[in-house]
Symmetry: D2
Subunit: 408 residues, 4 copies
């Protein structure tokens, strides 16, 4: 059990909708204003995870607004929830962020780091983490990337192959090293756990995966599995198990938050679509001929996201059937609890001495990473089984499954 | 491996849409006119299941139409498929059925058994099975109930407690013993495997479960899990795993086939609703306050069934979200392959010497039975895992998951 | 133009969700906190309608809560809207209502009129109206029925044929005279305009229609056309115009407010279904064979209502197509503005000297009334055209259609 | 009444799905194999329209397949319908077409006209029409453009301003004159009625509109209103009439026929999106801020088209609501009858001596044309009213509205 230990969660993109929702949520939970609904591991007691109350948030952002101000803009919290946490959030202000307009065009902030070279930026990030730990009297820290999606990068280039090559590229201010990689490197080099909740290239660089093994840093990623892809990895296994052949899967998304705006940059969007596409074919065991994923920035929805999926399947006797899904969800409400659980589980991995990619955390991601390129599991139920097994939660899960009236 | 063995499948309701689709489907497969799409265990090779080509169908129906005639009425097959199998199906005519208008009001046929007493009816059914085996030179037989839904029965009454009590009730022409029970008894008493694909009370009588253990009859049931409930047991585990609390689940179904008509009888409908309701609460671990299931007979659809589900969930910070499903499916196209696989797996169980309820077949049913009242698993992915394990299919499943281009 | 005249709106069911939304809405409009969005006749200037600011609300309810309290329970207003109007609404308390448990089972209040006989009840209602007018210094009054749905009544019975017969029945405390009829009679007998926004039998009694002609009372009804039926009367004309034959129309509704609860009483529900069913066949010109309308009380939604419609049509060459609608609407948000416009238009009719059923108001109702049984128009666009023509709004409509940037 | 007159319908794109469906449909109707379902003016008797049986089809296509072959590929007809008309359609073969790869990239056929200059192409088209009339002993001819969508053209250029300038441009082989314009010119110059059922620029060139007035050619266009836009122009008026403000309208389409493939060319797609966009703002009277229309080529559907629309509206008190539509339709089944009715009504206009744009035919088009740039009506119900008035169909419409049992 973690006991009275304090875990710092340093978030890249602290002023964003997901991060402010996570910060506000933990504060509301501490005050008893909300229950643990939506927190996947709330029932995983006695397994060594730090308590929700032990989490302390900090982090970087390109926008210098305090978190109360930021949260108000994101309009995720109810008015009453916002009021309850405004004093606390109002005192929290992100640290200036490392950024690079060539990697993410549509998000232009004002609170950029002054550091001129990549090395100076890395140094500044490491200093931030050290200061965070000291100022807040933290026992340990984890870093979670929630920043807007960056453009894709060609990972087969030689500077990404080994830690040594990567460091040389850093020294040379290599233009292919984006901000997310800098944060990943800065955490990993000090053995600090790192999670990438975005589609950006961050720790998923061979050089950094190797480095993590050396420094003892647990890694998790990438791209949080919240809405449409979650449903895809829930439904596809059943279609496979019933031998219903998927002829086409048409997925369209409408969303109106900063994320959606960033995805109006075609380069960022392509990166997102790539992480969204892989799961389906992997689960089914064949390439779906007409798999289309569309993401549309659509302002009337704000942080509320809507997905519409149409699935064409062929069943027995070659006969066609259709399944349609319509998910009216809230991006940050689904994502924030996963961020919290990632911080808790990565910290547990660190204390257990595990490092490199933690396979058991695959259920949290659209595109689960693997340490050495081995195939990954995408099917949600199987991922969940592995997470439970990793947590040693056999017993806990029995408890969790009992009817509420008995548990009470 | 089963080798060149012939398995007879005796179907209660042979003239129905599901049965005729299964019969036609196996015939089309034999002729190479369709592939194995939709057959869940088509890839389970080398595990002892009889080949699809080894199945021979026979069975009972209240309507005396030959199967070509019946299939044409059900309008499930395409015109071309129907033509291809019409000569074969035209030679197949159901045996007169045991029936009881008090158990299923809206289906009134003309091909009723003349037998006056329950004992005479049981005798006639056993004779049918023996004759079927002999005439068709079958090695073994299984019985599958696909008849229209009967009214519910109070199973706590003493005549249902033990084989002895049940047999006395038979002798006394007990009015609570419905046709589905008669078929189950007739099969089980001779050690013949029995599957109940309907919500009717059949083998799920304590007396018959005990008898099956004595006679060595494998049992499976009940109520085939094809459309809406399948999706429910696929999605609910994910909602649980993400700690999304289900406030309400509103399910509505429209269908226009003989099944739908039978369900216009409120007594039959209630029975159906009961088997549909249990899975959700069991998976979630709490009672869903507003779980509504509606079934509506609606002629424009014929055998094409449509389900619309609306799910209200509460997530993090108590915020509501909605998920809607719209499944445009074909009842018989989904059901028929499950019937085929049930016949093959029950036969495998029989040859392995297993008897009573075969837990591993739970994935095929809305309301999986258990031998001694122990809790059953409803979550689809976990059920599938158990089926694969039971089949000893670890190796086979790896194969099945390889990309098609590699498998070929 | 109405000038500075004060119009009183006396609402049966003043504490309900629709009425409190109307009262709060007019107050918010007066304070400039909301604009005229959602008010159909906001652009109908210069045509003699009283201004929104001239409306004064009062009325009856079985529950004695003040309107602030009631509005809070209905949870239609946002928190901020509620706060802004709470002081004003807190000072408004409904008058005790006439009620009859035999007419509406599931709504049991405490603020019933003491009056024992029907005549005493009528007298009390008329006194309420007179006092309302005097106390509030009103120039005129209209009555609108928003109470929960009552059971159906056989209108062919002789006591409903003439004013004289009806009055005799009143004297005899006829058990077939329900509360809605009492309110209608009490208004009409004094020449006061009366609108019935519910499916209950109110002014749609031959006796009362005749009486209205005698006393000069304008009448409108019945059953407000807000959600699903509105869409039906919008879409059906287009299906007709394109010669797409409607084979089936399956409509299901889920709602969780007091209205939904009242409809759990089968008698009230039937009445509702009746008013919902007529429009479709009337527009299409033939009887839709499978027209199903379901209403389901489903608590997670509160006042938010959801309708799902599936329409099966056959087009050219006998080929089938499907259209599905999913309307996530807010009952009171759609209904309240119609109530406001009904009050304004009925008052205009009164000032113009029109009486009996005002045909031009048909667009507001699911089951438009007609004075002498002549056929009514259900198609929304045609109804709207008639309303505009009645208002003499040819010129106004041109203005309304100009782009906003020009209008501004 | 038209009497025994023969009307030729010369179709640009005769081998396409819409045209072959129209041809087959008229043939099936002649043989009594289908009824008039789906034909909007089937009940418009006694108003001078030629009978369906009087229509004779011919036309051009880039693919030289006979119509039976083409219809089989489009897979719109049922197997039985196809068989019934195959002999007739097999004898019909399109004439070689004028084409221009710069105007429509993704459709490359083999049956191109040999003519090298625009003037030669025009001549060839006029010769085709003259020969068609003579060979088939036709009384009159109309031309309908059903070819794949071409790229947009800048109509403000001087060569499009007057007939004279246009003819000079023809002589100069102006690269901005596309095939659709050539067909329009060739028809109009001889006073032959011309309808443009596609988004391409055809007769909607000022020069050609002027020419039509001079030569007496009736004109109709453009872009057939069949599915999603039809619904838009049906629903938007109701939203306007209820003062529900449209904040966003997200429309997505999936379709898998040759049309969809053509739209994979971004230039053609933009043209399509332009004609789809205008109606909404025009009806509502303001610019919808987030109006998104997506068209996706998606093969599993073939000619079956699916549209999903999400509409965000704000109602009373600024409260948001959502309406979603899902239209599972068949492109050609909806379009073909409109083509037939266009031929009949344009012919009527010609006989009545009307010329230039026939405003009354606006209900058939997504982007109705106007002769002199005056505003056009988009609201479906109002368009229908104008069509009926134009037909002088007041009386006929009454009849049409009577219940079927009475009509029979």
């Amino acid at each position: 059990m973690a006991g009275n230990e304090r875990l710092g969660v340093a978030v890249v993109g602290l002023g964003g909708a997901v991060a402010t929702t996570a910060v506000a949520g933990m504060e509301l939970l501490r005050r008893g204003r909300v229950d643990t609904r939506g927190l996947p591991l709330a029932d995983a007691k006695g397994l060594g995870l730090v308590e929700y109350g032990e989490l302390t948030f900090g982090g970087w952002d390109l926008f210098e607004d305090d978190l109360a101000h930021a949260a108000r803009n994101h309009a995720v919290l109810t008015e009453a929830q916002l009021e309850a946490v405004a004093p606390t959030l109002g005192r929290m202000r992100p640290w200036p962020a490392a950024s690079n307009a060539k990697f993410c065009k549509n998000v232009i902030g004002t609170a950029e780091k002054k550091a001129r070279t990549l090395r100076e930026q890395v140094r500044a990030i490491r200093d931030d983490l050290a200061r965070f730990k000291q100022d807040q009297k933290l026992d340990r820290v984890v870093v979670v990337n929630l920043a807007s999606t960056e453009k894709a990068v060609d990972l087969t280039r030689p500077q990404f192959a080994t830690p040594e090559a990567f460091e040389k590229a850093l020294d040379a201010n290599d233009p292919d090293i984006g901000p997310a990689m800098l944060y990943a490197y800065a955490a990993i080099v000090d053995g600090i756990p790192f999670a990438n909740f975005t589609p950006s290239v961050a720790a998923d660089v061979p050089a950094l995966l190797l480095l993590a093994k050396r420094t003892g840093a647990p890694i998790a990623g990438k791209d949080g599995k919240t809405g449409q892809t979650l449903l895809k990895t829930v439904l596809a296994p059943a279609l496979r198990d019933r031998a219903l052949h998927v002829d086409g899967w048409y997925s369209t998304n409408i969303l109106g938050n900063r994320d959606g705006e960033a995805l109006n940059d075609p380069a960022s969007k392509q990166n997102k679509l790539d992480t969204k596409g892989a799961a389906l074919d992997s689960i089914l065991g064949y390439k779906v001929q007409d798999h289309v994923v569309q993401i549309q920035y659509y302002r009337p929805r704000g942080d509320n996201k809507e997905a519409w999926d149409n699935i064409d399947v062929t069943g027995f006797l070659g006969q066609p059937m259709q399944l349609k899904l319509n998910f009216l969800c809230k991006d940050s409400i689904l994502a924030a609890p996963l961020v919290v659980e990632l911080a808790r589980t990565l910290d547990l991995a660190k204390r257990r001495g595990e490092c490199g990619v933690i396979d058991a955390l695959g259920c949290f991601f659209k595109a689960p990473m693997s340490q050495d390129g081995e195939p990954v599991e995408h099917a949600m139920a199987e991922q969940q089984r592995r997470l439970m097994a990793w947590l040693g939660a056999g017993r806990a899960r029995q408890v969790e499954r009992l009817p509420e009236r008995i548990r009470g």
